[in-house]
Amino acid sequence: MTKSSRYYRDLIFELLRKEIKVRYKNNILGYAWSILNPLAQALVFFVAFQYIFKVKIENYVLFLILGLFPWQWFLNSVVASSVSMISNANLIKKTVFPREYIVYAGVLNDMVHFVLSLPVLGLFLIIYHQPIYFPHIILFPVLVLVQLFIILGISLLVASVNVFFRDLERLIAILLNMLFYATPIIYALGMIPDSLKFIIYLNPLALLIINYRDIFLFGAVNWPYFWLSIVYAVGIFLFGYVTFNRLKPRFAEVL
């Protein structure tokens, strides 16, 4: 291994280690707290939609978790990335280390967290007597990887653009809120009227979440959605990466 590839490996590893340490250091409950958030959300939606709106979806808690956990990863990463350059301004103004690694480390940290939340998913699979569908389950890590690249692309984009347009953060908060309801997290694909179905094709996160559910709940795979999500992942990542690198040389001037 050359010195520079060893350096980049050390850089990403140490930044990630820092993020994880900081997350779990001060409270033993760190893990519980961050699992609790999507679970509490799941509970609220469960009560609201199962008992008040009387929506008929089987295994609704499991259904919700399969949408909320991936959503939480996406949400946390994008929000944190949008301010990541500004909060590291004094470092960026003085040192030349590759800034994109701050974004990578943040997103990977949330991914590690997502993976650590899988035992909770497993627990609910057991509670609901859900079998593990084989070989469909093999696609799960692939979906996680696809999601990683979608999140990385969007994170690189918002991290770099927000340096120049500081109120992008606010716009992102609004857009994320809308995206949550535009994604079949609390409702099922089949409930969307035909006239609105096209939204699914515009929303890579929707494509992913539908497949997470198909894999775990029905032992099926929606192949068109699967391939489309890969196309989105490649496109979004490249777009974010190129934008970030175009804007990167000017960060130190603006921060």
């Binding site: 590893f13 140490e14 820092k18 340490k21 900081v22 590291n88 120049f164 347009f165």
Partner: protein, 240 residues
């Protein structure tokens, strides 16, 4: 015989577009779109205007000037984080910037953990930094605080840790930006001794400050800049 030139500014110019129009926000930018685009294209702030000077290897070189004179821009260009708009800038050698107090530190991590992280951000591999960790921690004189989270540190302790990491990265050019004001008298003395050792071993030190006394105490040569232009170059009279 004069030492080789290690940093050469050859008629260097640097302007900043006036970004405040866009950092003011998307809303303002979009409302005034034509005007904003035009303004970005036309309005430039020239921070450095045709600056030429050279720093020699092993020199302690001071850059002085009032606020807004362009000192920080010059430093940022030497560090490589900002590129000149015009002219030629040559920097031969590994540059280590001294970071602002606590920059790159995380307050929940211990002094030891932060030293490793900071060293990596300054360009060392983990193996390199671990090999020097004992020296770094010894120089910082943190005692039992080494394994405490640095939110418990005083600003002096943090400054010592930051300084200690920076000087142990084997820099050929050390950039110091008004940092010597922190830390107690004792530690400042120690830093000065260390910097003198550095000088003797051929490390170049570039210092910026508007405090004349510190500069004259330490620098071999000082330039004064104003509005991005060179005003004077002088050698401080040696202190008896």
């Amino acid at each position: 015989m004069e030492a080789e030139k290690i940093v050469i500014f050859d008629d260097v110019w640097k302007y900043y577009p006036l970004y405040h129009q866009i950092t003011g926000g998307i809303k303002r930018f979009l409302i005034n779109l034509p005007a904003a685009v035009k303004q970005i294209k036309e309005s430039k702030f020239w921070a450095v205007n045709g600056l030429s000077f050279a720093v020699r290897k092993g020199e302690a070189f001071g850059i002085m000037g009032p606020n807004g004179a362009g000192k920080s821009t010059v430093m940022a260009m030497i560090a490589g984080v900002i590129k000149p708009s015009k002219g030629r800038l040559t920097v031969c050698g590994k540059v280590a910037p001294l970071l602002e107090l606590g920059a790159g530190f995380h307050f929940d991590l211990t002094g030891r953990e932060n030293a490793v992280l900071n060293g990596i951000l300054l360009g060392l591999t983990k193996a390199e930094i671990l090999a020097k960790l004992d020296q770094i921690l010894a120089f910082a004189e943190l005692g039992e605080f080494i394994d405490q989270p640095i939110r418990t540190y005083s600003s002096g302790m943090m400054a010592r840790l930051g300084f200690s990491v920076a000087i142990h990265t084997d820099p050929e050019i050390l950039l110091i930006d008004e940092i010597l004001a922190v830390g107690d008298e004792n530690f400042q003395q120690k830093c000065l001794i260390k910097m003198n050792q550095f000088k003797e071993s051929g490390v170049t030190i570039i210092l910026i400050s508007h405090d004349r006394t510190t500069m004259e105490r330490f620098c071999d040569r000082i330039i004064e800049i104003k509005d991005g232009k060179l005003v004077t170059t002088f050698k401080p009279s040696p202190i008896a």
